[in-house]
Amino acid sequence: MQVFSRPLCFPCHGRLRRKALIGGLSPRLSSPRLISRCLGLAAALVLGASLPARAEELAFVLDSAEAAISLVDVKTEREVSRIPVLREPHHMALSPDHRELLVGDSAGNEIFFLDPVSGALKRRLSITDPYQLQFSPDGHLLVVTGLARNQVDIYEAGTYRLLYRVPISAMPSHINFSPDSRVTYITLQQTNRLAAIDTASGRVIWETPVGDTPAGVLWLRGRLLVGVMGADGVAVIDPATGRLLERVHTGRGAHNLFLTPDGRTVIVTNRVDGTLAFLDAATLTVRREIRLPGGPDDLDFAPDGRIWITRRFAHSVAVLDPESGDYQVIKVGRSPHGIWLNTHDALARAVGRAE
């Protein structure tokens, strides 16, 4: 189920690199050349300890408690390396040109720019409290929420120039956009509200109560779905007025929401119950529930149709077959949070779930 094409413009894939190294040790080589190759190999082995993973298909798993990014080989389902960051990486976003994966380190006050193919660190940028970050569907803006600092920052994508800082109370958490990028929707975890902010002016258009501790927000077919973590389901909101339309029971601790690549199903992770609820995207009725203990949080879709889900309290990623409900477990760091697979272009799914 490879929905989106992979970026094509990244040379020097790891497998080729490894082949070149091993193939270089031929007995037919002359001595100086052999010595040179041996030295090169030794240097490569030494440096290899700090190089990122060499697998081509990688899952990036952010470990918020160990200040690291785990790179997991999607084919072998094993962690192949860890990239150190500063303090607390929680979420990430792919740049509109697909060349950089931005990882927000909230307590470290930095964004790490990684090569989305190899995981290599390209650069770092000081930004205050980047907890959640998401590019607008048109690719012009980057919105960053500062959960600890009660601020929503709107940056110009590419230059990362701060356009607007919107002070907002309190604990701004998850982000989504209207399909035309004119409005960004932010959940406010502490004040139990959802806010709509005009991206052109930074003005708060409306705020509305949605329930105890709202978390994930998803634009779906002209409505907003909000995971209400302190309750047991999803609030459905009119994006124009902020009016509560209905509530859908999914399970205790409804946290985040994801539209499947075929657009037919919304998956809700229920943090307290330890379940995934599968909602019909058209009717919002729960079609299925799968038990997944360990604090299910973020997820992404693999090319083979399985779903990769971080388990905050079980130090692992679950790879779930949605047909059978069976899952394998991949051990990663202490507290895996955000996850993204480079096997597809997640940008459209991340920001344009609407259509």
Partner: protein
């Protein structure tokens, strides 16, 4: 996976998160795992202290006591500080206060740096980074501790720690709440200057805390001439708690590393430190209950801050 992490995960998932959900406090769920880690590692610290320090005190003591009744309150201090209520309050309170303060600083253009940003080469070398942080924080703590002996109002609080005449490995956490609060502020100020890694290295933090407890143990244990100059031993720290060292003219202020005392003085290496205690402390500070000690310390603090005027 580390079994302690697994235990913390279980605690967070099955106790902390359901508790937060039922009490309408789910907005703090992001802190639940950190708190669980703190509690689990704190419990292991206590277990480790008990398993190693108790035999040392039993079979290799420096003092023999007729009973250990005076130690009981120190056990309460330890449990409260390492596995009980204090970490929970600290997590919630300090997260909020720190976040607000940092937000205010950020609004004024100051983003707190980290040691790894000041020295970029450290990124990717977590253990070296941790060692540097441990050294810097221990150095900062040396000065905090030294100043707490320097000012009367501060020592009035810190005297609670020194008042114990039956000093044992349980005595490390015997502190006045206000003294703990000042220490947290001090620590927070350092964090604003160089950052402090959170619970990225709980095992190393556990080892450092264990060393601090061990340094209070009632044992004549020394690490040898060189060892005593690399890590603080029970004999070295007992010299700090000895009666002549109570109050402003003290020595051996360090907590983990003795370098700072050797650098700034006074560092005294002796095999016969003398009995611990503070003869100027109220008896309530010595043998009172937890609340009596806190109240007595607070009154002494007020007396030091606002001394009564004597008639001329």
């Amino acid at each position: 996976m580390d079994p302690l992490d697994t235990a913390a995960g279980w605690l967070a998932e099955n106790l902390a998160i359901p508790f937060l959900w039922h009490t309408g406090l789910m907005r703090w769920e992001e802190l639940a795992y950190g708190w669980a880690l703190f509690v689990v590692y704190g419990a292991v610290q206590v277990g480790l202290m008990y398993a190693i320090c108790l035999p040392l005190e039993r079979f290799y003591p420096i003092e023999r006591w007729p009973d250990r009744r005076a130690v009981a309150v120190d056990v309460f201090y330890t449990l409260l500080a390492r596995v009980g209520l204090l970490p929970l309050i600290a997590f919630v309170l300090f997260f909020t206060v720190q976040a607000e303060f940092r937000a205010w600083l950020a609004d004024h253009g100051y983003v707190p740096p980290t040691l790894e940003r000041l020295i970029p080469g450290l990124l990717g070398h977590p253990y070296l980074t941790f060692l540097l942080y441990a050294l810097i924080l221990d150095y900062a703590d040396y000065w905090r501790h030294r100043l707490s002996h320097r000012f009367d109002w501060w020592y009035a609080l810190h005297a609670l720690h020194h008042a114990q005449r039956q000093m044992s490995f349980w005595s490390d956490d015997r502190n006045h709440l206000l003294d703990d609060f000042i220490a947290a502020l001090w620590f927070g100020a350092i964090a604003l200057l160089i950052g402090v890694p959170p619970l990225q290295f709980p095992l190393l933090v556990l080892v450092l805390r264990f060393l601090e407890s061990l340094s209070h143990a009632n044992t004549r244990l020394s690490f040898g001439w060189l060892g005593d100059r690399l890590l603080i031993s029970p004999l070295f720290h007992r010299t700090h708690h000895a009666i002549p060292a109570a109050g402003a003219r003290s020595c051996n202020y360090g907590a983990v590393f003795p370098f700072w005392d050797m650098l700034h003085g006074p560092a005294r290496f002796t095999a016969r430190p003398g009995p611990p205690g503070d003869p100027t402390a109220d008896e309530a500070l010595v043998s009172g209950s937890y609340l009596a000690q806190q109240w007595s310390g607070f009154r002494a603090f007020l007396r030091a801050l606002f001394p009564e005027r004597r008639p001329s």
